[in-house]
Symmetry: C2
């Protein structure tokens, strides 16, 4: 429920006609999107190399300014699609970063978002783009402590990141760890069908710690979020596991 741009009470129409929105100096408002995936058992994120100042050459989250007639989530969706090609994924607002000096140009307040994509989907898109790169995260804290994270290349070397993006990525990790405990968000990082072991691997990668196999299975089956497909994986060199799908995907 949002207030419509209609007069609410006597005299309001005249007031609105007189209102001058240009009388105060205003900050710019941007959105940034931390795109998380799990690759080879590790949380990873997709970054762009900045071609312009400030922080030229540093890696940065896909981001952009919010249009005057665009919602925040709409802006994040547009930025994500235009800068990475990723469409139709889980996307949620995270936190708003507004330190007065976070951008050297001028006051820019950034509404941080995070998105979740299965690695299979990302790698198909990555083949078409040469300006983006997927980096592993190194999280120097446990559980939901929070704080900045490191972004490393294949050799484990920390990368230079722009602005407050290490904090933004850290906030995304903190949030997804928290959500995992009570919501079936792990499905967003997997293809449509998946095995119990595959789902557990996602949870372990996100939480950064091993999970008891037996209780994980019991908990997932009891949650009602999983639905048997009757199908089984093949070509795996051992007894094939049953494939499940997210039970509410049809309902949503």
């Amino acid at each position: 429920m949002v207030a419509a741009r209609d007069p609410q009470s006597p005299g309001e129409a005249e007031f609105l006609a007189d209102y001058d929105p240009s009388q105060f100096e205003r900050p710019s408002v941007a959105v940034d999107v931390t795109l998380l995936t799990v690759r080879d058992g590790r949380l990873s994120t997709w970054l762009l190399q900045r071609k312009q100042h400030p922080h030229r050459g540093a890696w940065s989250l896909p981001g952009g300014f919010v249009g005057m007639d665009e919602s925040l989530l709409g802006a994040a969706k547009r930025v994500l699609e235009s800068k990475t090609g990723v469409v139709d994924v889980f996307l949620e607002q995270l936190f708003t970063f507004g330190h007065p000096a976070r951008d050297p140009r001028t006051r820019i307040i950034s509404v941080a978002h995070f998105a979740l994509v299965a690695i299979e989907e990302l790698e198909a898109l990555a083949a078409e783009r040469d300006d983006v790169e997927l980096f592993d995260l190194e999280i120097p804290w446990e559980g939901q402590t929070g704080g900045a994270v490191d972004v490393v290349d294949a050799a484990g070397r920390p990368q230079r990141l722009a602005f407050d993006h290490p904090e933004q990525i850290g906030m995304a990790v903190k949030r997804i760890r928290g959500k995992l405990a009570y919501s079936p968000i792990g499905f967003q990082l997997l293809p449509h069908t998946f095995t119990m072991r595959g789902l557990q691997a996602i949870h372990e990668a996100v939480l950064g710690q091993p999970i008891n196999k037996d209780s994980f299975r019991r908990r997932m089956l009891a949650s009602g979020d999983l639905q048997s497909t009757g199908e089984y994986e093949t070509q795996v060199g051992h007894r094939p596991a049953e494939l499940y799908e997210f039970a509410r995907r049809a309902a949503v």
Copy 2:
């Protein structure tokens, strides 16, 4: 760690000098604060009656525009103090509301915050102010479902609220319910020392459901967040309960 306003690479200083921040139209950015307390076993919030358009006469959260050299939390703290007199309380960013039509004047993006205060402290302040009023909340959903809430007067009549404030208050309730499960945030709604029964009453009011007394006591004592004072309540007409304090208050 936030980027300083210093050149990061060759050529950046020249770029910054040329940058013209006025070339794009920008939204206004405001902060709103949902001030929650527990009164007589019910979640309540403190509202101001709007004296100007838009939504003149409707009740609204304390709010105001963000200054150009002010952090978001700093703005929220300033707004809270100037409009309610409340200082030095728990205050945290909640969510940013940015629907293009949420304010009939112009595009105003609001960074919602929430604050927690013990009712004892609030009532002392309320005596000095006649433009603010404390209203009970009626939450039409369970657990952490989320969504707008109703604000009612002493007779239970729903009040007319300005803007998207019912959603903002709902978001605050959702957040505090979530935090209660893993963080000792309930202490923020109590005086410095309190009884086990008092703490349980706060939890029950926030969660909107009764809690098992025995396991609550066990859980709280095991958490390490409580510290015995050796003091006991008096004048209660029954065996007095021990007074505890929040164990980390000294450390913070």
